[in-house]
Symmetry: C2
Subunit: 205 residues, 2 copies
DNA sequence: TTGCTTACTAAACACCGTTCAGTACTTTTG
DNA sequence: CAAAAGTACTGAACGGTGTTTAGTAAGCAA
């Protein structure tokens, strides 16, 4: 049946058209300022049409959330060119932060906004993107343990601790809680805090 | 002039009436689900009246944000009953996290939501609440340095690092990014990650 | 008592996410 | 080939949202 295949293809293209317009608008104006109506206008369809391809706005945000995870996972792969596991780890931390800095809207969607998690929850699915990315971290931490760089034996707990530390100042920064430091000091203090963290775990973990 | 004083007092009472209703509704239903109209209904005034006492919704949220900081600062004071500075520090970390657990909506307002920071920004004021609370942390970290518990000499950078770590998993938890662990494991892994962090900085900072 | 100020509100403005009845077009069937 | 069935899409509405403004009514001062 060539027709049903073509229809399938057209349906998929329409999903991509919507997602593309949504991505463009969201990245240009931020998630807060873009409505379904704006997206519909951009692709010259009625707002109702979007609901034939995505359940609701959260569903659309979840699709972008997935895309963003592909992007971050791609960046994470690059740290594996390094041989020293501890270097891999620090580089991964820097990648996480750099990604947030360069793609603040995407990072927000991935790790701060509740919308995409609500989408997952209501279709009671699990957060595979998060699991996979966290898995990469655990893997590297395990290597550090195996090589005797870290004394602590539970790679998952150690990974959680490391993720928290790196996520912490990233999230504080993005949500403007570091604006109490003036702009120059802000970058400096974040850089120094990160370095201090890596040194500290190198010695004490 | 007794009349202008009474008017002043009445104005202040009205602000409290609004704030009280807002607090009640926000804590009951979450910030997302409460509108200015809901608050107006609760106090039996028209929505427009609220705008005579608060500039906009962000302004109202900022007032609650301030209240919440008073509450947290109060909790932080309690850690000073301990004599050992390192114990003060770990207890402060636990207080931060416990506060978030017990008052998720308030914590969100204090450290995650952008609304109250936008209110600050548009009247270009600075975040004194944040400064003060961070100051308490720096003070304790300085004590740890003075007593030779930490080797690193910059208390502000060390404090930033510690805040990040504690904030990190708190924020990840509140924004449902730890739901990938099942409920029992979730609490366990957070507890263990926190303990691991304290042990690590004890040895390595 | 008149005029002025204050406190308040009804109604509107310009949006929002979402749903649904109905239309126009395409495909399948007899 | 015509009729029936199915698909893709939309206009218009529903029930909200934050916010502004013109206008009213009461309190106070002269």
């Amino acid at each position: 049946m060539g027709i049903t295949e073509r229809k399938e293809r057209e349906k998929e293209e329409m999903r991509k058209l919507i997602l593309g317009a949504a991505r463009k608008l969201f990245l240009e104006n931020g998630f807060e300022k873009v409505s379904i109506r704006n997206i519909a206008d951009a692709i010259e369809y009625s707002p109702a049409t979007i609901y034939l391809y995505y359940k609701d706005k959260n569903d659309l945000l979840y699709a972008l959330h997935q895309e963003a995870f592909h992007k971050l996972t791609g960046e994470f792969q690059k740290v594996f060119v390094r041989n020293d596991p501890f270097e891999r780890l620090t580089e991964m931390g820097r990648t996480y932060f750099r990604f947030a800095f360069e793609n603040p809207e995407l990072f927000d969607l991935m790790f701060i906004m509740t919308a995409p998690m609500d989408a997952l929850e209501c279709r009671d699915d699990i957060w595979n993107e998060g699991r996979t990315a966290f898995g990469l971290l655990v893997q590297i931490v395990q290597e550090c343990i195996d090589k005797g760089i870290f004394q602590h034996k539970d790679a998952e707990v150690a990974s959680m601790m490391i993720w928290s530390a790196v996520h912490g100042y990233t999230a504080l920064f993005l949500r403007k809680r570091l604006d109490m430091f003036d702009e120059n000091r802000r970058k400096e203090i974040m850089e120094e805090a990160f370095t201090l963290f890596t040194e500290t775990i190198r010695r004490g973990l």
